[in-house]
């Protein structure tokens, strides 16, 4: 049965993660479009979306055949690996150990890299390189979105709500991107990554436990407890490290 306590975190995680990933994919496609023109950028992106759709359809068919406890366990472990990696990095960024991602500088790096490639390549190959760059960028970021949607949705029949969350994020980012025609540098990417890392790690903990036969006290409410625990620990460590670095600094 669909409950708010699982649907809201699932949709929220899918939406937040998708905003982060679509912003990164948009930066790559914008760089390709600016350097090489919009035709290869659009063809490459469209081919990546078709590949992604094929992967999701193929994987979706397989998911139905896997026993639910095994599915929850495997997805739970993958979510722990994926979510705790995001949270780990977001804590280090919040603490000032790792620099924050800068979409403007990522865009500048990508355009420089593509311009250099187009100078070195034969003219006939330039369109191919451009299309491939857009394809690879959209496919890799898209796979992350697809994984998150399947991971937070598959264990509890929440695939459609999670997919809608991701779709809303795509529409929002692409709509704003089409309007301003610049990299979306003002998106609070690390805050989103921290929040999504907390949610994905909580889902991972919950489903890994359920896959091992744990009946969590309070059922779905345990998700909220895990999220609060991860958030408190993450913020506490980030604050502690930042404070110590400020004391050490002359």
């Amino acid at each position: 049965m669909l409950t708010w306590s699982t649907a809201v975190p699932a949709v929220g995680a899918a939406f937040g993660a998708s905003v982060v990933e679509v912003v990164e994919a948009f930066t790559i496609v914008l760089a390709v479009g600016t350097v090489y023109g919009w035709r290869p950028a659009i063809i490459g992106s469209s081919a990546a979306l078709v590949t992604l759709a094929a992967m999701i359809v193929a994987l979706g068919g397989l998911l139905g055949a896997v026993p639910i406890h095994l599915l929850q366990f495997v997805i739970g472990v993958l979510l722990l690996l994926f979510g705790m990696r995001w949270l780990h990095k977001a804590i280090l960024r919040a603490a000032g150990v790792v620099p924050l991602r800068d979409e403007q500088s990522a865009y500048a790096d990508k355009t420089d890299q593509l311009s250099e490639l187009s100078r070195q390549a034969r003219p006939a190959r330039v369109a191919w390189i451009a299309g491939l760059a857009a394809y690879k960028g959209v496919l890799l970021e898209g796979i992350e979105v697809a994984f998150i949607v399947i991971a937070v949705g598959a264990g509890r029949g929440l695939l459609w709500p999670a997919a809608l969350g991701a779709f809303a994020a795509c529409l929002l980012v692409l709509g704003i991107g089409a309007l301003i025609h610049r990299p979306l540098a003002r998106v609070p990417e690390n805050t989103l990554k921290f929040a999504v890392g907390v949610m994905l790690s909580s889902f991972g903990m919950f489903w890994t436990g359920e896959g091992l036969g744990v009946e969590w006290p309070g059922n779905d409410a345990a998700l909220l407890v895990f999220a609060l625990l991860f958030a408190a620990v993450g913020l506490g460590i980030a604050g502690g490290i930042r404070g110590r670095r400020e004391q050490v600094r002359p």
């Binding site: 690996l81 705790m84 890799l140």
Partner: protein, 68 residues
């Protein structure tokens, strides 16, 4: 071919960033699974162990990475 290898490497990178964190997660899950399967722990206590161990692992790996 090089693009395919790059894509596969980036896919692996989705799950493995800090090697200590990834190996630690897998080791903790495997240990808790073993303790539950051999009936050394009741599932609920295994769940509590999972929570405490994973949160401690996150804290340890972040602090260690910050010191590097």
């Amino acid at each position: 071919m090089r693009s395919l290898v790059a894509i596969l490497r980036e896919l692996l990178g989705l799950f493995v960033g800090d090697a200590g964190l990834a190996v630690g997660i897998l080791a903790i899950v495997a240990a808790v699974a073993l303790l539950i399967r051999t009936a050394t722990l009741v599932p609920l206590h295994g769940g509590y162990l999972l929570v405490v161990a994973l949160v401690a692992l996150l804290a340890t790996t972040v602090v260690r990475a910050a010191r590097r």
